[in-house]
Symmetry: C2
Subunit: 231 residues, 2 copies
């Protein structure tokens, strides 16, 4: 933070969103190109200032509404607060970041100054937003392993090959559709819809269609170890 003649007594507080979506097989994040200094021309997370009548979650939803249709965000959770005094070069500003997930298949209309960027190939980012995006990705990776959070990246119904592609994009490594199915079925996270879907023009057996049983976050693997006795 730069020096002030009279230091500010209170920080500005902004809410930011790390919005992820799997797009053509790649995990991408929605970024906004800054038109003004500081960091003019660099890419930043969408968001804006908190006002006194709202919670941080309401605030980020309000700001997001100008970028994407909020109904398209299937899951939203708090990532944390970034408070380094020098994180904003001109003023004292705290940022609370949220992780938002948009299901595959939706193509939200976004303003001209925003664009989706692959998480593994970020452009130059403003402030500390690069590290916030990385924190979001780590959170997502972890929760894919022990919760049903995949529901927020997957469409309403899907084949297992499609779900595998989503998991591969989000995790960054190969996933077996065979075993993914068994893990998610055993945990009661997904269930067959009953219908089938015929795929490529090259033929092949029609794939079964599945859906997530719940579209709210549930921890499916609460005790990796050290379970309570008898559980």
């Amino acid at each position: 933070m730069a020096e002030f003649t009279t230091p500010p007594a209170l920080p500005v507080h902004v809410a930011l969103a790390v919005v992820f979506q799997v797009r053509v097989g790649v995990l991408e994040v929605l970024l906004w190109e800054r038109a003004r200094d500081p960091f003019r021309g660099m890419w930043s997370l969408p968001g804006g200032a908190l006002v006194s009548s709202e919670t941080l979650e309401q605030s980020i939803l309000r700001h997001l509404a100008t970028k994407v249709d909020v109904r398209e965000v299937a899951h939203l959770e708090q990532l944390g607060v970034w408070s380094e005094p020098a994180r904003h070069p001109e003023r004292w500003e705290l940022a609370t970041a949220y992780l938002g997930l948009v299901p595959l298949g939706i193509d939200p209309r976004v303003p001209a100054d925003t664009r989706w960027h692959p998480v593994d190939d970020l452009p130059a980012t403003a402030f500390d937003h690069g590290s916030i995006v990385r924190a979001g990705r780590e959170r997502l990776r972890g929760k894919l392993s022990y919760s049903n959070i995949g529901f927020a990246l997957a469409p309403d119904s899907f084949t297992l090959a499609e779900l595998r592609d989503i998991y591969e994009a989000a995790l960054g490594y190969e996933v077996s559709a065979t075993n993914l199915k068994r893990v998610l079925l055993r945990r009661g996270a997904i269930e067959p819809v009953g219908t089938r879907r015929s795929h490529g023009p090259a033929g092949g057996r029609p794939a079964g269609v599945y859906c997530y049983c719940s579209r709210r976050l549930e921890v499916t693997d609460p005790f990796a170890v050290l379970r309570p006795p008898g559980a």
Copy 2:
């Protein structure tokens, strides 16, 4: 939040700490008895206002220094922000809470207006501090299962019976010392010191002494499922 003649443009931001310690077999939290309204006489988390030259983590360490010796806090991590506008009845105030852990065996000198309270039997708490304490406990429970966070609740060296008592207090259910040892050894979280300790006056085989290999947080069980291929 109460009504203002001129609404405040910026929120006050405070840092709070949920400081846990296992004391005589019970997980307890350090609370401060409020001397002033609002919530006079009720119990609140230690902490205080953020100032512009510090991060939130530095701020909570600074405020904690007036309650406990900061060197006694073996681990500190951010829990989240609480931003409900009505959480403070008189002003607009956000709170960022931290989880702090003090090892067993230390008896920090605390001021007269603070006291340790069993987490399972909290007194009447001010603001939303009761739910913040519960969030801290959930965080601790989860991390005990998949990380080495026990190092921050355990003394420098300990027998397995002592460590089991710590885990039981923190988790709230019975833990087998036999299996706890194997889990933590297999993961490389603890190691034998080599010495032995003779225990009760009633006799019994002397217990081996162990210590945590690292006294920094490490995730020992990163992929509960959906491991990368070959891992």
